[in-house]
C-alpha cells in the first residue's frame, strides 16, 4: 500500500514500453494491454484516494533516497483526486475511441499509438504525484512530447499544428525550468515542501520573483492561457479524433493543477498575492480569456475548433479560481477541473462520433442529427447544458462557487464575467443544438472538410446515418450521467476531499 504513489505513474510508463513490443508479436492484444495498464492505474488512484482520506497524505521516497537528496512523491487529497479524474476519464475515453484508432491509424502503428497514449498519461499522473520541482519538469516534458507526436499524426493539416505545438510547448517547459533554477539557487532545494519552508527567508530577492514569474509563464503557455493560447485551437482541431478527446479534457488541466500546486505547496502563503502580482495577473488574464474564448468559439464553424476555443475559456475560468487564491476559489477551480474533464470529453467524443459516423464537422451541416444519432446527441445536449451552467448539472456549481469567491474578495469583475460567460456559452452550444434538433436533415451535403484524414472520405447522408456502436456511446452516457451526479453530490466531494485538500 505504501507504494501507491509510485504505482500510479509507473504502471502506465511500464505498459507504454510493453505495448509496442506486444504489437510486434500480436497486434490484437495491444488495446487490451493498454486498457489493463490504465485500469491498474485507475484502481491505484482510487486506493490512494481512499488511503489519503483515512490515513492522511502519502509520502514515497523514490529509490529509497530520502528528501531533500532524493525525489519524493507526495499524494495528498488534491493529488489523489486529480489522479482519479485523469485515469477514470482516460479509461472511458480509451474504450470509446478504440474503433476510431483502428480506423485512423495503419495496422502496425496501433502499438506505437497506444504506447504514446500511455506515455502521455504516465507523464500527466507523474506531474500530479511528484513533490519535486525538477521531477515535475521531466514529467511535463514526457507528457508534452507524446502529446506533440499524437497531434502530429492527425494528417496533413495536423503536421504544422503539431510542429508549432512542439516549439511553443518547449518554450513553456524551458521557461518553467529557468524559473526552477532561480528558486533552486535561492533556496538550495528542489523539494516543494522544503522550498516552502526556505522561501520566506529568500522572499525579497529579485531572483525568486523572477523565478515565480517564469514558472507561471511556462505553465501558462502549457495551459493555453490567453495571450499564450494561440497554439491550442490548431492543435485541437487537427489532432486525430481519438487524441483530442483525450488531451483536451486532461492535458491542459494538469498544467492548471501544477499552477495550483505552486500556490499550495511551493510558494508561502501570500507570496504570490502580495509580493509578486502573479495572482492578480492570473485573474485578469483569466477574465480576458473567458470572454475571448467564448466569443471566438461563437464565430467558429468547425465543431472541434469551437470546442477548442471553448476549452480556452473554461481553462481561463480555472485560472481565475487559482488567481483569486482563497480556499473557496481553489475549491471552485478544482471542482471545475473534474467538471470540465467530464463535459469536454463528452463533447469531444460526441463530435468525434459524429465525424466518424457521418463524416461531418461543420456545425451548419448537423441538421437532423438529433434524430439519426439520438444517444450521442443526448449526451452532447446534457454536456452543453452543463457547460452553460444550468443547475443541478456540474457546470453550474463551479461557476456558483467561483462567483461566491469573487464576491468574498469584492471582485465584481469576476462575478460579471463568469455570469456573462454562461450566456456566451449558450450562444455557441445552442447553435449546435438548434441545428441538430430543429432543422430538417439535408440530403445533399455541401462540401464539408478539406483535410485528408481517412474519415472524410466516408460521407453518408445524415438522414440515413446510424447511431454509433454500443462500445462507442456507452462511455459517453457514463460521462454524461457523471456530469449530473457530480453536480448533485458536489457537497460530498467538496466536504470530504477538496476542503481538507486546500486548507
Amino acid at each position: 500500500m505504501d507504494q501507491l504513489p509510485v504505482i500510479i505513474p509507473m504502471t502506465l510508463l511500464i505498459f507504454s514500453l510493453l505495448t509496442p513490443l506486444l504489437g510486434q508479436v500480436w497486434g490484437g492484444s495491444v488495446f487490451a494491454a493498454t486498457l489493463c495498464g490504465v485500469f491498474i492505474s485507475t484502481i491505484a488512484s482510487f486506493l490512494a484516494l481512499d488511503r489519503v482520506l483515512t490515513h492522511g497524505t502519502l509520502y514515497y521516497d523514490l529509490g529509497g533516497w530520502a528528501p531533500p537528496v532524493g525525489i519524493e512523491y507526495v499524494v495528498d487529497e488534491v493529488a489523489a483526486y486529480v489522479c482519479v479524474v485523469i485515469t477514470t476519464v482516460s479509461f472511458l475515453v480509451l474504450i470509446s475511441t478504440r474503433r476510431w484508432v483502428l480506423k485512423e491509424s495503419a495496422d502496425r502503428s496501433t502499438g506505437i499509438f497506444y504506447s504514446l497514449v500511455l506515455l502521455l498519461l504516465g507523464g500527466l499522473t507523474g506531474i500530479v504525484v511528484t513533490g519535486d520541482l525538477f521531477n515535475l519538469f521531466v514529467f511535463l516534458e514526457i507528457s508534452s512530447l507524446s502529446a506533440y507526436a499524437l497531434v502530429f499524426i492527425g494528417g496533413r493539416n495536423a503536421m504544422l499544428a503539431g510542429f508549432r505545438y512542439l516549439i511553443i510547448g518547449s518554450i513553456g517547459g524551458a521557461f518553467y525550468l529557468l524559473g526552477v533554477g532561480f528558486i533552486y539557487f535561492a533556496t538550495g532545494t528542489l523539494n516543494m515542501e522544503e522550498a516552502r519552508l526556505l522561501l520566506p527567508d529568500a522572499e525579497a530577492t529579485r531572483a525568486v520573483q523572477a523565478g515565480a514569474v517564469l514558472i507561471f509563464a511556462g505553465l501558462g503557455l502549457k495551459m493555453g492561457l490567453v495571450p499564450m493560447h494561440f497554439w491550442l485551437p490548431d492543435a485541437y482541431q487537427h489532432a486525430p479524433s481519438s487524441v483530442n478527446s483525450l488531451i483536451s479534457p486532461i492535458m491542459t488541466k494538469v498544467a492548471a493543477y501544477a499552477m495550483l500546486r505552486m500556490f499550495l505547496s511551493v510558494f508561502p502563503h501570500g507570496y504570490l498575492t502580495d509580493i509578486v502580482p502573479v495572482a492578480d495577473a492570473l485573474v485578469i488574464l483569466g477574465l480576458i480569456g473567458i470572454a475571448f474564448g467564448s466569443i471566438a468559439a461563437a464565430s467558429q464553424t468547425d465543431i472541434r475548433r469551437m470546442l477548442a476555443y471553448s476549452s480556452i475559456s473554461q481553462l481561463a475560468l480555472i485560472a481565475v479560481g487559482i488567481g483569486l487564491a482563497t480556499p473557496l476559489a481553489f475549491v471552485a477551480a478544482l471542482l471545475h477541473i473534474v467538471n470540465h474533464a467530464a463535459m469536454k470529453s463528452t463533447l469531444f467524443l460526441a463530435a468525434a462520433s459524429i465525424r466518424l459516423q457521418v463524416g461531418l464537422q461543420k456545425v451548419h451541416n448537423f441538421a437532423g442529427l438529433g434524430r439519426s444519432m439520438p444517444v450521442t446527441m443526448a449526451a452532447f445536449t446534457l454536456a452543453a447544458i452543463s457547460m452553460v451552467g444550468i443547475p443541478p448539472t456540474a457546470g453550474f456549481f463551479s461557476k456558483w462557487y467561483m462567483i461566491q469567491a469573487g464576491l468574498n474578495q469584492g471582485d465584481w469583475a469576476v462575478v460579471v464575467v463568469v455570469l456573462l460567460s454562461s450566456l456566451l456559452t449558450a450562444v455557441y452550444l445552442f447553435k449546435v443544438l438548434e441545428q441538430a434538433y430543429l432543422r430538417p436533415a439535408k440530403s445533399n451535403i455541401v462540401h464539408d472538410s478539406h483535410d485528408d484524414t481517412p474519415s472524410s472520405a466516408i460521407r453518408t447522408e445524415v438522414a440515413r446515418a446510424k447511431e454509433s456502436q454500443i462500445d462507442v456511446w456507452a462511455p459517453l452516457i457514463i460521462l454524461a450521467v457523471a456530469i449530473v451526479a457530480i453536480g448533485v453530490f458536489n457537497v460530498v466531494i467538496i466536504d470530504n476531499i477538496l476542503r481538507p485538500g486546500v486548507s
Binding site: V388, I390, W400, I403, L419, A426, E434, V488, V491
Partner: protein
Amino acid sequence: MNEIFSSPLPLIAVLIPVGAAMLIALTTSRHPNLRDSWSTVAAILLVVVVLLMLNETRQGRLAQMTIIELSPGIDIALRADPAGMIFGGLASGLWILAGVYAVGYMRGGNEHKQTRFFSAFALSISAAIGVALAENLLTFVLFYELLTLSTYPLVTHRETEEAIVAGRKYLTYTLSGGLLLIGATAWMHVLGIDATFSAGGFLHQAGLNQATQWGLFGMLALGVGVKAAVMPLHSWLPSAMVAPTPVSALLHAVAVVKAGVFGIVRVMVFVFGSALLQEMGAWIVVAVMSGATIVIGSTLALRHDNLKRRLAYSTISHLSYIVLGVALLGPIALTGALLHIVGHGVTKITLFFVAGAIHVRTHKDNVSELDGIGRQMPITMGAFTLASLSMAGIPPFVLFTSKMYLGWGAAEVGQQVFLAVYLVSGVLSAGYLFPIILRAFMRTSPDHTRYGEADMRMVMPLAITGVLALVLGVLPDFPFHFYNLAHAVADSASGLNSTIVGGVQ
C-alpha cells in the same frame, strides 16, 4: 401556530410529471394512445397529491421535504406553504385540462414530433411545481432555470425560422434573468444570509447597507421580472406565441409567466417584506413600471389583429396587475394579486384554448377573419364570451373579485392613481375583447364553408375553464381553497394572526 412536518409529498408532486415525461418518451409515437394517456393519468395523480398537501396546509401543517445539500449550508428543499399551494394548485389543476386539449390540438393539427412535445410539456409542469414549492431561493432558482430549459423545445416546436429566432430570444431573456437570480443568491450566501422564504421577509434582519439592499433588489426583481414580462422586459412573450397554442395556453398564460409573477411575490413578500420595501422606497419603482405596463400592454393589445398576439399583450397587461398588486404592499392588494394569479390563469387559458380550436378547425389566426364564427362554433365562442366578460371584470366573474380586491387595496394604501389604472385597463380589456364577440355573433361569415365545433378533446376543456371563470367568481374556494390561501398569505405577510401562516415565523 403553524407546524412543519417532514413528508415526501412535495417531492412526489415534482416527480410525478418527470415520471410521465419518461413514460411518454419510452412509449414513443408507436403507441400514440398509450403515450397520450400518461399525461392525463399523471395529471390526475398530481392533483390528488396536491389536494393531500393542501388539506394539511389548511390546518397549518406544512409538508416539507429536504432532498439533498446542494451547496455547503444550502439544502434543496420543498415546502407546501399557502403561497406555493396557490400556484401549485393552479398549475396542476389546469394541467389535466391542458393535457387533454393538447392531445386534441396536436392530433387535429397533425403536428410532428409529438413525443418530444408531450415529454417537454410534462417536464415544464414538473419545473413549475418545483418553483411553487421551493423552500429557499436556491431551490427556486434551480427550478426556474429548469423551467426555461424545458419550455425551450416547446417554443421552438414548429422548427420554422421564426420559431428558432423566437427560441433564441426566449433563451436570451430568460437565461439572463436566471443569471441575475444566481448572482443575487450567491451574494446573499456570501453575506451569510439564510435565504429560506419566510412570510414578511427576512432581509430586514440582516442589517445590510442601502447599496447592498438596492443591489439585491435590482438583481432579484429584474431576474423574475423577465418571466413576469414587465415592460421593458416583455418582448420575448409576443415572439414566443409562435409556439403551438396549448403551449401558449398553459405555459404563457399559466406556468412560465406565472412563475415569474410568483417569483415577484416570493421576492417582495417572502425575501424583502413590506416593511423593508416601504423603508427603501423600492415599491414605487415596481409600481410605476407595472402600472405603465398595464396601460401600455392593454393599448397595444387593441392594435393587434392576430388573435394570439392580442392575447399575448393582454397577458402582459394582466401580469402587471398582479405585480402592481404585490408592489402596493397592502394585505388587501396582495390578496387580490394572488387571486388574480388564479383568476387570470383560468380565464386566459380559456381564451387561448379558443384561439387554438379556431386555428385547428378553420386555420384562421386573425381577428378580422372571425366574422360569423360564433354561429358555427357556438360552444367555443360561448366560452370565449364568458372569459371575455371575466377579463373585463364584470361581476360575478372571477376577475371581478380579484380586481375588486386590487382596486380596494390601492385605495387602502392611498394610491388612487393606481386605482384609476386598474379601472382604465378594465375598460381597455373590454375594448380589445368585446369586438371579437360582436364579430363572431353579429356578422355573417363571408365564405360559405360550414365549420362545426372542433374535436371534443378541445371543446370540453375550454368549456370547463370558461365555466370555471364564472364558478370561481361565485365560489372562490372551489376546489383548491384559493381564497382562503390568498387570505392566509396576506395576513401572515403583514404579521397578522391567522389560522394558517406561510413560512417560518
